[in-house]
């Protein structure tokens, strides 16, 4: 599986792209030296908070904007300055942007008509695409006469009909309600599978990004911070921002006490030491921040063996889990999510002392 994906061709190359809007004092750096390689038939997600430049990157790939510097390749062709209508790339817009003066069928046919395809071929393709998104019954409705979820599907069909090499989706699911959204998530994955098209999907919803993507890029303030598969991003966040944005994390300070080739020893304020993999140059005496996921710790009543000790400030019972907020002995807060097992509840009390044990494998050293 890994083998197959690594030998896949690269569909889109984003090469050192910088995009600056405006000039002089009120200029905005929307993207800064962004580099990405998106593989053929990959479900690739751009994830990041509002204003981080996701839409801008998508618009550059679609051709609605031109970069200040850098270039974009589609397979081997430089498309940086091609107009949108010359790129085999289609977009599903956030607001759908369906043509209100046309029926569903006319909307879906539009791209093929503009490409000058034969009438019979258009009809055939449109029928099959409408079938793909399960909209054939409403083909002759006007776009104002269908529901939001249906409009979403028409927008998808319209973008898929010309068989683009790359499909761009800008927060395409965010306007839908929870149930519909989950249906559409499955549907998108199915479509990607059936069509073999490369999907570049934009979202600020980390859960959506983790469940849908083959790989994702986490962005912040115009930069790509980390690219990787969902579990890689979740388990090995390189930066504090990534660890914070995706899932919950505890951040702890530690000092480097010894360094050898592959491993470094770090020491927490409690004096406990751990050996963790070194991913960058670290000197003895350096100060590092590490991230620990709340669900990857264990709590116990035995305080001596614990890495940290603290007092339970609050606990929230959530059925499968209980969330504990613990005040550590150095005054900082620590969150632990502990799975509930029958017969083991009521083990800890608010106000009670508790020991937190870490597994070295769960400690992620962050870039500072």
């Amino acid at each position: 599986m890994l083998q197959a994906s690594s030998t896949r061709q690269i569909a889109v190359t984003v090469n050192a792209i910088t995009k600056i809007f405006g000039e002089g004092d009120n200029s905005v750096v929307a993207l800064e030296d962004v580099n990405l390689e998106i593989k053929e038939n990959e479900f690739f997600t751009l994830l990041g908070p509002s204003g981080c430049g996701k839409t801008t990157l998508l618009r550059l790939i679609a051709g609605f904007e031109h970069p200040t510097s850098g270039n974009i390749l589609l397979y081997d062709q430089d498309i940086t300055f091609l107009p949108p209508y010359q790129r085999p790339v289609n977009t599903v817009f956030q607001n759908y942007a369906l043509f209100p003066h046309m029926t569903v069928r006319q909307n879906v046919s539009f791209g093929l008509e503009m490409l000058g395809r034969a009438k019979s071929e258009i009809k055939e393709t449109v029928d099959s695409v409408l079938n793909l998104v399960r909209m054939e019954e409403l083909a002759n409705r006007r776009t104002s006469e269908i529901s939001g979820g249906q409009q979403q599907r028409v927008a998808l069909a319209r973008a898929l009909a010309p068989r683009p090499k790359v499909l761009l989706l800008d927060e395409s699911l965010s306007a839908l309600d929870y149930k519909l959204r989950q249906d559409m998530q499955l549907e998108l994955k199915r479509l990607q599978h059936e069509t073999g098209i490369t999907f570049i999907f934009v979202t600020h919803d980390q859960e959506e990004a983790l469940t849908m993507s083959d790989r994702l890029a986490v962005m912040d303030e115009g930069r790509v911070l980390q690219v990787g598969g969902p579990s890689e991003i979740y388990n090995y966040p390189k930066e504090r921002f990534v660890a914070e944005f995706i899932g919950d994390s505890n951040f702890l300070e530690a000092d480097v006490t010894s360094v050898n080739e592959r491993l470094v020893r770090i020491q927490f304020y409690t004096g406990k030491e751990f050996e963790v993999p070194a991913f960058r140059d670290m000197r003895v005496g350096a100060h590092v921040t590490v991230a620990v996921r709340p669900e990857q710790v264990t709590l116990s009543n035995s305080l001596d063996a614990a890495t940290f000790t603290g007092v339970i400030e609050n606990m929230v019972y959530l059925g499968t889990h209980t969330h504990y907020i613990i005040k550590l002995s150095n005054g900082s807060e620590f969150t632990a999510h502990i799975q509930n097992l029958r017969g083991h509840d009521r083990q800890f009390e608010i106000g009670g002392a508790v020991g937190i044990a870490l597994d070295p494998a769960t400690i992620q050293v962050l870039k500072d």
Partner: protein, 318 residues
């Protein structure tokens, strides 16, 4: 039990709704009382004169203007037919028909020209930043502040034989003798276009400004070139503005009086001038009144056809 309770509560809610509706209607009826002054003004100012015209068109002409209160269809007869003074033979009033034709023709031409000039202008304004838009709109409306006659004379200065255009062309040696533009149908058409252009630009601007430019992007994305985006997306979506602007230019053009009078030099009459002639020198008020009503019918007929055609485009499903 629970069900009947439910239905009765639904019924109660419904009757409550009905009561609210009724009281709202009462309120609206009271508002109608407030609208009486407007209705009175409309009756006196618009319907009244029309009625008088209609009545006059069926009366006999008095020798020195005015009407004699005797029913007659001479006025209407004169619109379409004419009687030879000497031998009394009846023939079709070709002069009137050619004036009608010229009026309709020139009005259509100036409407088209105004559309061709007005569309890019409105598009340009609508795509500026919000602050500069207001400046451009202001500039568009400035001509309205100037007297129509003065504006028409200004056009005259531009197109007459020793006018700006001819002087310029002769000065550059492009032509030898001046192109005759003043006192032609072209002059009338140009003048009307100039005078009524803002009436085309403003509704077009209102439509284009409301246009969702994301749709334009979507069309670009779907392989439509610029020209195709214009034809397939922009024009259909701003059609209401095109319809409104065209009506606003066509209607006053058809009844224009000052512009054809000044720029046509009295040789090239339009319906407005013909009507004026009947009430003035012609001293044939019934004919003038009949021509006015006729003009009204032409306008309404033209609008009906136009709106039909324009609507057909928007509702067609292929």
């Amino acid at each position: 039990m629970a069900e009947t309770e439910n239905t009765s509560s639904v019924l109660a809610a419904q009757s409550h709704q009905v009561a609210i509706e009724a009281s709202r209607r009462n309120k609206i009826r009271n508002f109608r009382l407030l609208s009486m002054p407007a209705l009175i003004v409309l009756t006196i100012g618009a319907a009244g004169p029309l009625l008088i015209m209609l009545v006059y068109s069926f009366l006999k002409a008095a020798p020195y203007g005015g009407v004699v209160w005797e029913p007659s269809i001479d006025g209407w007869f004169g619109v379409f037919l004419k009687k030879d003074i000497f031998d009394g033979t009846i023939s079709i009033a070709t002069a009137h028909l050619s004036i009608l034709w010229r009026s309709v023709n020139l009005s259509i031409q100036s409407t088209l020209l105004a559309l061709i000039l007005g569309f890019p202008t409105a598009y340009f304004i609508a795509t500026r930043s919000v602050q500069t838009r207001n400046l451009w709109l202001f500039l568009i409306t400035i001509p309205f502040w100037t007297n129509l006659l003065i504006r028409t004379f200004a056009i005259m200065q531009v197109i007459r034989d020793q006018g700006i255009i001819n002087n310029f062309l002769i000065g550059w040696g492009l032509i030898e003798s001046p192109i005759e533009m003043l006192y032609t149908d072209f002059a009338i058409m140009l003048g009307m276009t100039y005078v009524y252009l803002p009436l085309m630009v403003l509704p077009l601007y209102a439509s284009i400004e409301k246009l969702d430019f994301r749709l334009v992007e979507a069309a670009y994305d779907l392989y439509a070139t610029r020209l195709r985006v214009l034809w397939r997306i922009i024009i259909p979506l701003v059609r209401p503005g095109i319809v409104a602007g065209s009506i606003l230019v066509f209607v006053p053009s058809l009844g224009a009086y000052v512009t054809p009078r000044v720029l046509g030099g009295g040789k090239h009459l339009m319906l407005g001038n013909l009507i004026e002639l009947q009430f003035g020198q012609g001293r044939n008020w019934p004919l003038g009144a009949a021509l006015s009503i006729f003009l009204l019918c032409v306008v309404m007929g033209a609008l009906l056809i136009y709106v039909r055609v324009a609507q057909r485009g928007t509702t067609e499903h292929v």
